[in-house]
């Protein structure tokens, strides 16, 4: 087992990773392939999934404006959430990085902790907060800022806020990991050369955390585009996104082939965006960091 001869590993690594590999091939690769195949099948309202093959599912998803709206809405949601995560998350990470222990660990725990709490719980909280009788509206009315409750539940705005809450910890994580690699003396170097605090921040600190902001954005975008629970609970029936639309087809209309085609398109889009942007980011920044 514990051979230390790295030059000729032989079968050992494959034996060790074998069980996991088999499980993954059988339970990940195969189901995904089956889904791909499913997306090409014909569906009839009366008889269910047929054994004939067709491209009509994809054609429908791509051409029907109903789905077009859904894709646009999803993309819009993803962009908005990503932007908001950057605006909210990046300053917070910088503030965190400048804190002293033990406050730093505590605050980091509070910011990252919610990731370990089920998304149902978090979204329930937003439902309560954003509802017409919710805290947010009650506070606004008490302060006489508005007379009637502002509709936030079942709106795009409400979805964006709630989803940002769910995903901003990922942005913080990414930028934080980046900041750990920075040499703190570089800021002092900038100051000693005559740069004001602001100039040093703009010219020295910000450019160095760009890779972290970028990889965080990729993660947040991908996760918002494929989000299910939050859009389902806060967006409601009328504001569908890709994930909830797939759910509708699968567990509502039972048009599995159509649902599968939506899923396949979502997967391809996800992988393309993540890998494409990661490559771009790597190329752009590889001369800076090891």
């Amino acid at each position: 087992m514990a051979t230390l001869d790295d030059a000729r590993p032989g079968a050992a690594p494959w034996l060790l990773s074998g069980p996991a590999l088999l499980l993954f091939i059988g339970l990940l690769l195969v189901p995904l392939l089956l889904t791909l195949m499913l997306s090409f099948r014909v569906f009839s309202d009366t008889a269910g999934v047929q054994s004939a093959f067709t491209l009509s599912n994809y054609r429908e998803v791509v051409s029907d404006p109903y789905y077009g709206t859904i894709f646009l809405r999803t993309a819009g949601l993803a962009f908005a959430v990503t932007l908001l995560s950057i605006v909210l998350g990046v300053p917070e990470t910088i503030v965190l990085a400048r804190m002293k222990r033990p406050w730093q660990s505590l605050c980091l725990l509070i910011v990252l902790g919610p990731l370990l709490i089920s998304v149902v719980v978090r979204t329930l909280g937003w439902q309560i907060l954003l509802g017409n009788n919710g805290v947010f509206n009650n506070v606004l009315q008490a302060l006489h800022i508005t007379d009637e409750p502002i509709r936030l539940v079942f709106t795009m705005t409400g979805m964006i806020i709630a989803l940002t809450h769910v995903l901003v910890p990922f942005m913080v994580m990414s930028v934080w990991a980046n900041m750990q690699k920075l040499d703190s003396q570089v800021e002092w170097a900038g100051r000693s050369l005559g740069g004001s605090s602001f100039a040093v921040f703009r010219r020295v600190v910000l450019p160095q955390i760009m890779p972290g902001v970028l990889s965080g954005s990729i993660i947040v975008f991908a996760l918002s585009a494929s989000a299910f629970a939050t859009p389902a609970l806060i967006g409601g029936r009328r504001l569908k996104v890709v994930a909830t639309a797939a759910y509708d087809e699968f567990l509502g209309t039972l048009n599995w082939p159509l649902g599968a085609s939506i899923a396949v398109l979502l997967l391809i889009a996800n992988v393309a965006i993540v890998m494409g942007c990661s490559r771009l980011a790597e190329r752009r920044f590889k001369h800076i960091f090891d």
């Binding site: 002092w188 100051r191 000693s192 005559g194 800076i288």
Partner: protein, 359 residues
């Protein structure tokens, strides 16, 4: 008037005192080293001069100007950091020109001055590279070029050579000193490496536990240490405890292990319990007239010299003998040792407590 003056500087963090009552004057154009072990406060002193740390008490005057509470970016002081602290996302030229950019120097002039600074540190033509692509020695040069490009009034070096290997470090000592002299910039060098301090400095301030133990030229610091700490930190020395019997105008008669030694006191008032010091290179093997006899316990060859440890009735003595060709007697042999009384030093034991063995 001195170019840089520190008056009554102290720095306290809660109960902990990092620097206590520090007074220092640095002359224009000189290179002064702050030398001491880690924790002695030398880096804190540097940070206060640079403006990264505010003194608890005291004033700092630069060319007559009180800069004690001035922000770092206004002081016009060049700093070379131990880790070099280069901007990884900028090219070498971008790094070196940053200080000029902050001063709104026009692009053409900036490029010319950057090229000049790079030529001075012998990095011509590397302006377009990124720090990641350079070797450690090259990165250090960029850090130096960056600090001097803006023609600062004062240059601060925080252990700039500690990350270089031994050979490169030796070369850089000479090169950096050459650059400093050529430009005539007043410089403070912080280091724990005594060879570095002695090679490069006009004067050395030996620091110990937040104060300056001794401030003098390298020669005086080595040959005439004023405190036990200074004498044991710089170079190696032999030390013996003794008792002052009598004082003459020039020397004190000190009783050490039964024998009486005549030690020049250099005007210092020494009395009672004292330590007598003599450097290993000042002891030599004597065949006939030996003041002390002993047995060689260890013999080590270092290339340009032999280091011997000789057991005598005074204790274990360290002797350094230049390599003249013929090796000294072997381990276990009996030898005689002799010295000139003028090479002895004496300091009161109170000055920092206790007799020391060797250092």
């Amino acid at each position: 008037m001195a170019f840089l003056t520190l008056q009554g500087i102290s720095k306290r963090y809660g109960d902990f005192t990092a620097i206590e009552q520090l007074d220092l004057s640095v002359e224009r154009g000189e290179l002064l080293s702050l030398l001491g072990p880690s924790g002695c406060g030398k880096t804190t002193t540097l940070q206060m001069v640079a403006g990264f740390v505010t003194p608890t008490t005291g004033r700092i005057l630069l060319d007559g100007r009180d800069i004690t509470h001035e922000r770092p970016e206004k002081r016009g002081i060049g700093v070379v950091f131990q880790s070099y602290a280069l901007f990884p996302h900028m090219t070498v030229a971008g790094n070196v020109g940053f200080g000029l950019e902050m001063r709104k120097v026009k692009r053409k002039e900036r490029e010319a001055r950057v090229a000049e600074a790079l030529a001075l540190v012998r990095l011509n033509g590397l302006g377009h590279r990124y720090p990641k692509e350079l070797s450690g020695g090259q990165r250090q040069r960029v850090a130096i070029a960056r600090a001097i490009a803006m023609e600062p009034e004062l240059l601060l070096l925080d252990e700039p050579m500690s990350n270089l290997d031994a050979k490169l470090r030796e070369e850089m000592h000479i090169e950096l000193r050459g650059i400093q002299k050529r430009l005539g910039i007043t410089t403070i060098l912080v280091t724990h490496d005594q060879v570095e301090a002695m090679t490069m400095s006009d004067r050395i301030a030996v620091m110990h536990r937040g104060t300056i133990a001794q401030l003098s030229t390298p020669y005086d610091a080595y040959e005439r240490p004023a405190t036990p700490f200074a004498s044991t930190f710089l170079g190696r020395t032999n030390a013996f405890a003794g008792e002052v019997l009598r004082r003459n105008p020039r020397c004190a008669e000190v009783s050490v292990a039964g024998a009486t030694l005549h030690v020049p006191h250099e005007g210092r008032h020494v009395d009672g319990a004292v330590n007598v010091y003599i450097r290993p290179e000042k002891l030599h093997l004597a065949n006939g007239d030996a003041r002390v006899r002993g047995r060689i316990a260890t013999r080590v060859f270092v290339g340009n010299q032999w280091l011997l440890e000789v057991e005598t009735h005074l204790g274990k003595l360290r002797v350094a003998q230049p390599n003249h060709g013929a090796p000294p007697p072997e381990e276990g042999d009996e030898v005689g040792l002799d010295w000139t009384d003028d090479d002895l030093r004496v300091l009161t034991q109170d000055t920092a407590g206790g007799a020391h063995g060797h250092a």
